[in-house]
Amino acid sequence: MMRLPAFKYLAPHSVAETVLMLSSEGPGATVVAGGTDLYPNMKRRHQVPKTVVSLRRVADLRGTHAGADGSLRIGASTTLMALERDARLKAERPALWAAVRSISTPVLRTMGTIGGNVLLDTRCNYYDQNLEWRRAINNCLKCEGDTCWTAPGSDRCWAVNSSDSVPVLIALGARARLSSPRGHREVPVESLYRDDGISYLTKDHDEVLTELVLPPVGPWKSHYGKLRRRGTFDFPVLGVATALRFDGDRVAEARIVLNGVGSSPLRCTEAEGFLLGKRIDPETAKAAGEIAFRPAKPLDNTDFENAWRKKMVKVYVRDGLLAAK
């Protein structure tokens, strides 16, 4: 049996109580929402928290609120299935809806939350293994070892950001609200991440993600494309979110965000700049794909051969731009 290590279980009823518990329990305490990322990690002994603080009884973190101005607030504990069943989300923000629906499996989406998805651990073939497997290779930098098997000789971890919702949230200009014993703050979702497979989040240990705030859709058009082996279960090997705002038939603003190619989501700023003032036709989309392809550096630590994954960036960016048009 893959059993969880023992821990102290706490079930606060409010965000204020949660952050106090987290700070008084110290860095050995972890928050859990749906547990579909944390519990497999704990079973594999990636994380062995002393205390698990569950958000299950914190009712005000669940649900969505549409603002009169067309903005949307999504509570961090809203399940992925609740978002998938939200007809308004599907109609107004189809790229986010499609990204959510592409996550894992229906039963996992029934349990997993959007907040957990945003804060998902980074992934690597040498890391996402059980304890015995990892011991056989003497572990790796991300968990108790001193070598990175993906890039031996490297002094950092290259584990991959694999969250499906994140590229779309960034492309849609979403902001994240965080609470801690020191108060609240709101930051662009993009700034939650750091390009480091181990220390991949910029948030403090006792900070809880409470809400995602999406601005009004306005004239933005967007799309999410996901590359993976099977049509279900699998994490993205590459995910591409594209969002475009037009002035007439010319691009006034563009956002292209990738997952699966680095430890943080990758914003393709050069390709975005290239698109300004242009019409989206097959040639322009292809050229933007060529530009986006350059900074993407997938390493050999997920499914599929990395050279092919890099090539797929061209294809997915091109197709994503044409689909968002």
């Binding site: 049996m1 893959m2 059993r3 969880l4 290590p5 023992a6 821990f7 102290k8 279980y9 079930a11 860095p27 050995g28 305490a29 972890t30 547990g35 579909t36 944390l38 519990y39 497999p40 990690n41 079973k43 594999r44 002994r45 990636h46 994380q47 062995v48 928290p49 002393k50 698990v52 569950s54 299950r56 299935m81 894992s104 499996t105 229906p106 039963v107 996992l108 029934t110 349990m111 651990d121 304890l131 991300k142 968990c143 108790e144 220390s199 991949y200 989040l201 948030k203 240990h205 049509g231 279900t232 279960f233």
Partner: protein, 199 residues
């Protein structure tokens, strides 16, 4: 950030995790159960309550064989804490049949040979029950989508989808064709106790 614990040494709590007593409502009955708070629903069902119909496969969310129904929704018992199940209505494969007999899904799985080794079957039955309770007339596409978190290494899925469609028809009160007989197996079934071997 989550702490990276010392995997080699046991955390202090491991030595004597304090148990809790909780009333779990399983298959329509309340059960008072004593268990440690880090136990999954899967462990409590199988090891504390003797309900071994729920199977354990990957125990990491990657196969679906541990699926049970919680408050009408399919859930993976391997990734749920039993302490979080108080006040919730849990249905396992043992709770599908009634005094009248097996559940139409169980009948249909048997009639159409939708189980071969049978290890995935309890999970498929629970996920399918949740689906049919929510949507009595799912299309093939909806069945395929909804069962996309359950793996079967034997049947190739076609028989499973057909069985869910057959059960749905029975539950809607529609007539269904008689089940295929043993002639489909290419000969008479072996008498009970008789051993048949391959070449």
């Amino acid at each position: 950030m989550s702490p990276h614990g010392n995997a080699a040494g046991k955390p202090a709590a491991q030595k004597r995790a304090k148990k809790v007593t909780l009333t779990l409502r399983v298959n329509g009955e309340d059960h008072e159960v004593l268990f440690a708070p880090h136990k999954t629903l899967l462990e409590v069902l199988r090891e504390e309550m003797g309900l071994t119909g729920t199977k354990h496969g990957c125990e990491l969310g990657e196969c679906g064989t541990c699926t049970v129904v919680v408050d009408g929704e399919p859930m993976l018992s391997c990734l749920m804490l039993a302490v979080e199940c108080d006040g919730r209505e849990i249905t396992t494969v043992e709770g599908l049949s009634t005094a009248k007999g097996p559940h139409p899904l169980q009948e249909a799985f048997a009639d159409l040979n939708a189980a071969q080794c049978g290890y995935c079957t309890p999970g498929f039955l629970c996920a399918s029950k949740a689906l049919l309770d929510r949507n009595p007339s799912p299309t093939r596409e909806q069945i395929r989508d909804d069962l996309a978190g359950n793996l079967c290494r034997c049947t190739g899925y076609a028989k499973i989808f057909e069985a869910v469609e057959r059960a749905a028809a029975v539950m809607r009160g529609e007539p269904v064709p008689p089940p295929p007989g043993n002639e489909d197996l290419g000969g008479a079934a072996p008498a009970q106790g008789e051993v048949t071997r391959g070449a």
